[in-house]
Symmetry: C2
Subunit: 582 residues, 2 copies
């Protein structure tokens, strides 16, 4: 294609509201154009990338046996009421009434609609397993849309849904999708990690996030460099850092720590390691009667080592807490501990409190904790001797770099990632049972579908790819999803017949080989021309100049290369083709 046949519109400066590099570069490269908060026009350069992303997704989904269909953007609320999501979904769900005052939603996902299709179309076990997918516009009314396509309101998602007769088959479907996702992200040419993720209220053990690695990512990814362990921070298991509890060596001693309400301050004051302190976090759970009134409140004290952080997802899975918890109020804390927050600890409680110790804390000796008296801590505390064993010992903290890997194969590292895909085993509870979506088994008995759901944020891929691949000059697209793979940049296209002939020939030969090549016929000066293609991020460039042609050569340069390769004109096509990833 010639550049004049498409629409190129680059900017020197990014608009002020663009906070992160991918947003800035997409705006500057003319890939997106803001229409409203979190709502973007996809301009020709951006749409070309989207189409390549979608094509790869479709090929791999089809190869994996998933069947494409298309479900509507505007969906009747009735279906969403069947699963309770119409009521339960927060203001992120865009609700709309039609001219007859009937309720509709602008779909953020399509579980209800696909389950409605399945309950009508998949009547027999003979029709299972079955995975459907679509690539469709979604809308989530984010409270604070930002970061361009990374947290937009309208976006394109590929969502797939599997229907199986039993859990074993569902996990096979899950695995097929997992492998398809790996194939997709491999083909994108992005560095990514599939990490185990929490399954939340669904339970079960099959949930993986596909994270594109980028320092700017919002998510923390835990992995073991010497094994294949990988999980997100919510899920990654923290082992005890102390193999066995040592015998007490110190006497318990109340110590004044005036104004020192954090473990860091206390450790500094006392001149002890932070790892000798214990942090107290107070939660509460409420028991309600049928009328919804609170009939009983239980207060919980969760203890993690001073250098560790509470993991609320893990806490939320503990017996007694998994029905939902909240942080205790100051009044509740003072009532149970006789002290304001900042000096709390497990010793000298005024009312019964459930004490949960992190695995590491449970093995600590001679530790320091709050004295439940303002401006005082207690040192030399020991389980058993100074206070009863904790009610519960559990993994309730985030892992940190250097923790032992749960698979015993090394120590953990942490990197940042951007979640662009998610595969999830749903089971029967969330959609098929409430919607009465069943098939008939061999005995003619109705059984609820075992379901899975699988999403890829198509438009988000663009942002993640750029966060991972850019430099000070602009975007560096992987070959497979670049808006163009090769840019032919002739110097003097409109005034030098030799340059024009060579550039045209290179373009035509590459195009004939199926290479997505653009010929810059806009007549820009070399500097501006090169800057445009570097900003847009085309991975391969061929410069055709009169000077080069005098020696029968052109210059080929990869977007990451600092210098050009001088290549004979006659070999340029083969040279470039050899560099392209299949």
């Amino acid at each position: 294609m010639k550049a004049s046949q498409t629409f190129i519109s680059t900017l020197k400066e990014a608009p002020a509201d663009a906070e992160i590099v991918s947003h800035k570069l997409m705006m500057r490269a003319g890939m997106i154009k803001r229409l409203g908060a979190g709502i973007y026009n996809y301009m020709p350069m951006g749409l070309r990338v989207i189409r390549k992303v979608e094509a790869i997704i479709r090929e791999e989904m089809n190869r994996a046996g998933a069947v494409e269909l298309l479900m509507p953007v505007v969906q009747p609320a009735e279906l969403w009421m069947e699963t309770g999501r119409f009521q339960a979904y927060g203001p992120e769900l865009l609700r709309v009434k039609d001219r007859h005052d009937r309720d509709f939603v602008i779909q953020p996902t399509s579980e209800e609609v696909i389950t409605d299709i399945a309950r009508q179309e998949l009547r027999s076990y003979k029709q299972l397993p079955r995975t459907f997918y679509h690539v469709q516009t979604k809308f989530r009314d984010e409270r604070r849309p930002r970061f361009g396509v990374m947290r937009g309101r309208e976006f394109t998602m590929k969502d797939a849904y599997s229907f199986d007769r039993d859990k074993a088959s569902a996990l096979k479907s899950y695995d097929t999708m997992y492998r398809a996702y790996c194939a997709i992200f491999d083909r994108f040419g992005l560095t990514y990690r599939a990490v185990a993720a929490d399954t939340g209220a669904i339970g079960g053990d099959a949930s993986h996030e596909f994270q594109v690695i980028a320092d700017t990512g919002e998510d923390a990814i835990v992995y073991c460099p010497t094994s294949d362990y990988a999980a997100n921070i919510e899920l990654a298991e923290a082992l005890s850092l102390i193999a066995e509890r040592a015998a007490p060596a110190q006497a318990m001693a109340k110590t004044p720590t005036p104004g020192k309400s954090t473990c860091e301050d206390v450790a500094a004051l006392l001149g002890i390691p932070l790892a000798s302190t214990v942090k107290s976090l107070v939660l509460a759970t409420d028991e309600k009667n049928e009328a919804g009134d609170i009939v009983k409140t239980t207060v919980w004290l969760l203890l993690v080592r001073g250098d560790h952080a509470l993991n609320e997802v893990k806490a939320g899975k503990l017996p007694g807490l998994k029905g939902g918890f909240r942080f205790a109020t100051v009044a509740e804390i003072e009532d149970h501990f006789g002290c304001k927050p900042g000096y709390l600890g497990p010793i000298g409680l005024k009312k019964p409190v459930k004490v949960v110790a992190d695995r590491t804390v449970a093995n600590m000796s001679d530790f320091v904790c709050g004295a439940n008296e303002p401006d005082f801590h207690i040192a030399g505390v020991n389980w058993g001797r100074d206070l009863p064993e904790p009610d519960l010992v559990a993994d309730i903290r985030n892992v940190v770099v250097g923790d032992p890997s749960p698979d015993g194969q090394g120590v953990l590292a942490i990197q940042r990632g951007i979640e662009v895909g998610h595969v999830f085993y749903l089971g029967t509870k969330k959609y098929s049972e409430p919607m009465g979506a069943t098939y008939l088994d061999e005995n003619g008995k109705p059984q609820p579908f075992e379901m899975g759901c699988y999403g890829i944020g198509v438009t988000r891929i663009l942002g993640a790819a750029i966060e991972q691949n850019h430099d000070e000059r602009g975007i560096i697209w992987p070959d497979a999803i670049a808006p163009f793979t090769v840019a032919v940049c002739p110097i003097g296209y409109d005034r030098n017949a030799d340059v024009k002939a060579a550039a045209d020939q290179l373009h035509d030969e590459l195009a004939a080989l199926g290479v997505d090549v653009v010929l810059d016929d806009r007549g820009e000066r070399p500097g501006a021309m090169f800057a445009d293609w570097e900003l847009i991020g085309v991975p391969h460039r061929i410069v055709v100049s009169d000077r080069g042609l005098k020696t029968g050569t052109v210059e080929v340069q990869g977007r990451r290369e600092t210098a050009a390769n001088t290549v004979p004109l006659a070999e340029a096509v083969a040279f470039v083709k050899g560099r392209l990833k299949a």
Copy 2:
């Protein structure tokens, strides 16, 4: 592809709410599935057709130099307020408020958004002309959605918009799109007609509808079989059927016509041709002051020949009526004519009335019209002698079959059509001027863009194609947009190794040639298998049977053919390939 890899779900009976054949067949063939009123899931067989339609549209749009982008489904209302469409658009515009109570619309078209893009991106005359397009989900909240995809609420449309510096250039862009549309509909393989259409309030003379010809179409298309004249019924010009007014031959005579209030009844009673009668239609126009109060009402009498029908679009273009008119009330009629409707005429008016005669009526002599007296008509009426010449003579009627063609090249015929595309010259008044969308001309002076808009109803194409191409067994897709081009139907695929080998080979060889072929490996009985593919409308079928293979042959049958062609197995691929439209 193997049939087991996609999803085929056919029905014996269409649901009761499917009124027209395309809706019935799309439901029965499992192409669409109703989700709500006018909202459909596109099932795999239907989506395959949509993708082929979209691909052809994209190729031809790109070839014509249009550049694809993608504008959002959810659009901020502010832009729609700039053109006044937010206020003026009726309840068909789906309006929605976000979590911050801001107004949005679910787009029915994208003129405002593209004009917003143009006013930011197209700053100089050097960037013109420019045509953008997108293929995107649209929503129109039809009062009475019906006919499946023909009058749905959510649908896919390709909409293109051209921006030019002046009208001459805009008409060139229009012509380019017109020719691209012809190429698109040619490639679809549908019988269609591009017909001149009314430009409504925009004025100007460039508006064409692309109508797929079908007896069941809602639109009347006027054309001249011996020339290239074609227009829709709203626009088609009606010449006078009487070259010159003859001298009066009869005396005027009031005639009792008790209870005969229609021209047909009067002609029958008096034993005269219907073409000797004149029909009276009474309109009214209101003049308002600045406060919006009616200060003056004018009553109009429009006269068409008894066998003709008033064309309201034409009437709406007359001086004095083009500001908007309404039908007069019975009170206004009695006040001005001294008579109730049914016996009205241009003679003996009680108050001033503007009389408009159709061109044919103006040349009639000795005609019959109402006497403005209940149960009486007047015969032998003549202009000039019995009443003043009309205030205005104009084309205010629909043409009828046999009328002279306006181009003087023959007589007019009428056929039915389904509008699936529309090209429209917009000028500057509707969008670029109200939105302040300007470019700088050679003198650095801002000028409003001359615009055009161009739509194709992607999903509607499916309905129109089926209305035009079906039989009692199902759909008959043209090759180019069929869900599959060829179905290989083996009899005993799962139990006869020779049949399986031959079928696999045919499938693989055709697929290798780029033919979109499906191999039915579902193990259905021949009757059910053939019925499915006939219902789905695959245009070419190859039956592989043990009996045929015994003589080294297979049976190839086109969907419209009544008998199969026995073809040697070795020649079958070439035979089929030779039948396919490029």
